[in-house]
Symmetry: C2
Subunit: 532 residues, 2 copies
């Protein structure tokens, strides 16, 4: 097997451990050095510029991080992943033993894709989707009355929900007129009840998404929605479509108008560019714009193969994160998009990052001696400024921040107030926050003193289009994967979610027994604990 080591077993680590004692002091913000840093610490790519002068780094630190990236073989591993190596595995123990090929779903624009077989499968599914969408447009596929479908009800949870949902929300401005999407995910019956109230079932497609075809929440919600269809005198079979694994229990043409497939080599949280997201996005955006979304992702997947930390954006952001988390001991990271459209994107990243890198063993099966992934959280600015930014600026906990912004709005419906547009106000606030966090402010009044030295970076794009959203998604996927490689953990399994599932299933068996109905919570907990 090719060499895989964690950051703390590299030579670079020794160097960085020395440098961590003297992180760059950002207070000297306004002097000549600042000008140099502003120009020097920018990394540009096709879609974004990444401004990182406000990180507590120097050229020496960057050199150390480059060595660390090289010695951990981060980019080589990324390429090995794309080429189909079995990256989802832990040596010596039972593990999923799978390839990790979400990148193949969008590697459809290159004459020589990194993994031809997986890309072939993706292309085949995309072709089937294109035909299906054309059938909807032509009226060939329609409801009982011959009317077109106007709403798609997306039913999934976790990776089958958050990715598609956050991208749909991000691209609402680009939808085809007369079409919308609703989501049901939680097993909470109130989630389904609230959503179903606002949907005309006769004009809705129901897209049920579960790779295994056995997800408790999703199957329960599917039944609940089927009942609603039956009650309305409508036939589920004419409205329900499935996205699932080949030969899963849900792969059943008798139940679904159409089935689209996802494959074992794509994990739920990385599945937005597979049929999991594409059916829903294709319905809403139309096929061509959905393809633009893939185009952006594919381009970033290739940009991320560049071994140079200073010019490979996702690699750079990953390494800055390693510096803040593993060297400067910051335990969380905030993602702060200055774009209301991205309001669910931090939640998606929270999932993708924490489920990938919230681990305690390495890929050799040993308990790790270092911290793995951080807690990821965030809300859009400027809203957050009126909420938790108080702690960011003056709290005792230092939170590194990743700002995301755009020069132009999506709808391009803006207003000049006091001589500036809302979009200008949005960007001005982003820049002001970044600078305030970094430079701080001296004051004799301790209550208006800002300590500064709070590291942050700005990822700036021109406009949040489908293509740019694809790029942004792939950017963060690559960042997460690079960090997982740095900690030498398996970022692609999720054994940590199993125990809760097992206990819940057993507890439900208990609850079923009629004689125990109405039993006290204490008794229920005790029963659960006895099952551990």
């Amino acid at each position: 097997m090719k060499q895989r080591i964690a950051y703390l077993h590299t030579l670079a680590h020794t160097k960085l451990m020395k440098l961590r004692n003297y992180p760059f002091d950002l207070h000297n913000g306004a002097d000549e050095e600042m000008k140099t840093r502003l120009k020097r610490y920018v990394c540009r790519s096709h879609y974004f510029s990444l401004h990182y002068w406000a990180q507590r780094i120097t050229d020496e630190v960057l050199d150390g991080l480059q060595e660390l990236a090289d010695q951990c073989r981060l980019v080589e591993q990324f390429k090995e992943m794309k080429a189909g190596e079995m990256m989802n595995a832990v040596a010596g123990v039972k593990s999923e033993q799978r390839q990790v090929l979400h990148t193949a779903c969008r590697d459809i624009f290159s004459a020589e894709p990194c993994h031809a077989a997986a890309t072939d499968q993706a292309v085949r599914e995309l072709g089937r989707l294109r035909d299906f969408l054309a059938g909807l447009d032509s009226g060939e596929i329609c409801n009982e009355k011959g009317e077109q479908f106007t709403c798609l009800l997306h039913v999934g949870i976790g990776g089958s929900d958050l990715g598609p949902r956050s991208v749909y929300e991000a691209l609402k401005a680009f939808g085809r007129s007369g079409r919308r999407v609703c989501f049901i995910s939680n097993v909470d019956p109130d989630d389904a009840a609230a959503v179903l109230r606002g949907v005309d079932l006769s004009r809705a497609l129901v897209c049920v998404v579960s790779k295994s075809g056995t997800t408790l929440e999703t199957l329960t919600n599917e039944k609940l929605i089927s009942q609603a269809y039956a009650a309305a005198g409508l036939e589920s079979r004419k409205h329900f479509i499935a996205v699932t694994g080949l030969r899963s229990p849900m792969d059943d043409p008798d139940r679904y108008l159409r089935s689209f497939y996802m494959f074992d080599y794509i994990g739920g949280r990385y599945s937005t560019t597979s049929m999991v997201g594409m059916v829903t996005l294709g319905f809403y955006l139309g096929y061509d714009q959905a393809l633009d979304f893939l185009r952006g992702a594919a381009r970033v997947d290739y940009e991320a193969e560049n071994p140079d930390v200073r010019t490979n954006q996702p690699l750079l952001l990953a390494m800055l994160g390693i510096w803040n988390h593993s060297y400067l001991d910051m335990s969380t990271v905030a993602v702060l998009p200055y774009s209301q459209a991205l309001h669910r994107f931090p939640a998606h990243l929270q999932q993708c990052d924490m489920e990938s890198n919230g681990k305690s063993i390495n890929r050799a099966g040993d308990v790790i001696e270092h911290m793995s992934g951080p807690v990821v959280w965030g809300e859009p600015g400027t809203n957050g400024q009126h909420a938790f930014y108080q702690l960011l600026h003056q709290g005792t906990e230092v939170v590194p921040c990743e700002f995301i912004g755009f020069r132009r709005s999506q709808y391009e419906e803006d207003i000049l107030v006091d001589g500036t547009s809302s979009q200008q106000k949005l960007v001005a606030n982003l820049l002001a926050q970044s600078t305030a966090l970094a430079c701080g402010r001296r004051s004799d009044n301790p209550n208006t003193f800002f300590p500064g030295n709070r590291p942050n970076s700005i990822l700036l794009g021109e406009r949040l289009t489908p293509e740019v959203m694809g790029a942004l998604l792939a950017f963060y996927e690559a960042k997460i994967v690079f960090q997982g490689f740095s900690w030498n953990i398996n970022s692609f399994d999720q054994e940590g979610v199993q125990l809760g599932k097992v206990l819940a299933t057993r507890l439900l068996e208990e609850m079923k027994s009629a004689e125990r109905k109405g039993q006290s919570l204490e008794r229920e907990i005790l029963k659960t604990a006895e099952m551990v």
Copy 2:
């Protein structure tokens, strides 16, 4: 001035510092001790039971926390706050110097309210609201065509947005038929554009909320919406209402159909039970149900006056939080409601908690020598289970969890699948997660090993009604305030948000100058930094 000290200057602190070295081991979950703990570590109140056996505490720790609460005079200070003492102040420096009387807004059911004058003002505003709502019902207040208003567009940001929004979302099931509420908060022009697309302006009331009457985002959005009204040939004055401070620039009867008032002694993040939330909730829920919301809050405000840590729920949860954060060094806390209706409640708490307690100086004006408030985050279960729970169970970062659940659903539209209802599944999952986090699981396979000892508590209610939502909100407000008192910080100002505002305003002045338009981001940042 009455004595105010931080936890680390109490005698109890010495005791707790010893106990922190041997936190209770939760692995011994399933034995006899577990039964005792399950029964002993429950705290019941009118609305909730709080189950805290899965905290790493013993009776000795609880005794220590009781002494700490006593020695910090937490409950006395809470009562002093309710009685109108100037709690929003920092000695020796310029500070807001205000009373903190959000509790007075709901102290309207007692014959002898804690602060009669403030409650009188609240009652007066409630009377004006009742009359306004009656006018809407009778058709006396209507649009240009004599039609009733069907939508309320709530325009505010931060404290004027998140509280009302999260409560509205939580109580959607209880709305009056034919009425809905939309929110615009972000200065991002796409936020307004997206919302306005779905609103029939002619049937909408626009409720503009800003205490100061000068909030940049809110005024900008108000102008943008006014323009849309003008473009539709409608008169703003017949649709716009204001919630603002007496004599603020927004207190202008020429511009608004009606103005409702909030007062200096209520901070934005604590203002949901003032007119800030009540106008919107009154419109949607009707006056009587909105009053139920206040009733729940008022009851908890009185329950919180009980000095006994073991029977005062908000005080207990506050002290358990102090134990986890200040003694066991856990830097974040997750709030995990098993109720989709509460999907924005963690964001509200994130604001309320982090803006209140993310501070670095105490109320004597000195820099504190201890950690103040934690990072607060969370998403609803069961969704989160399929997302970040991996890190909660197996990550290297230990995150204390606060579960919230209910026995009955809101809509009471449920389905039996495999012999259990969705609501049962929801509660079973909550209990299973709590137990799994606490007890963990031994395994020879290190990848399926769960370390356990991850502290958590469960707050369980019967059903999330308007009254229970009021109780839940007041519960957390009290918890936050108790923790602030423990750290001896001023939980009621937000000086930390000022610097960013100042810099943004100056940067916008720069952007205005025509010759600088199109200037580079580096130049903009440099300008900003020079202004610090």
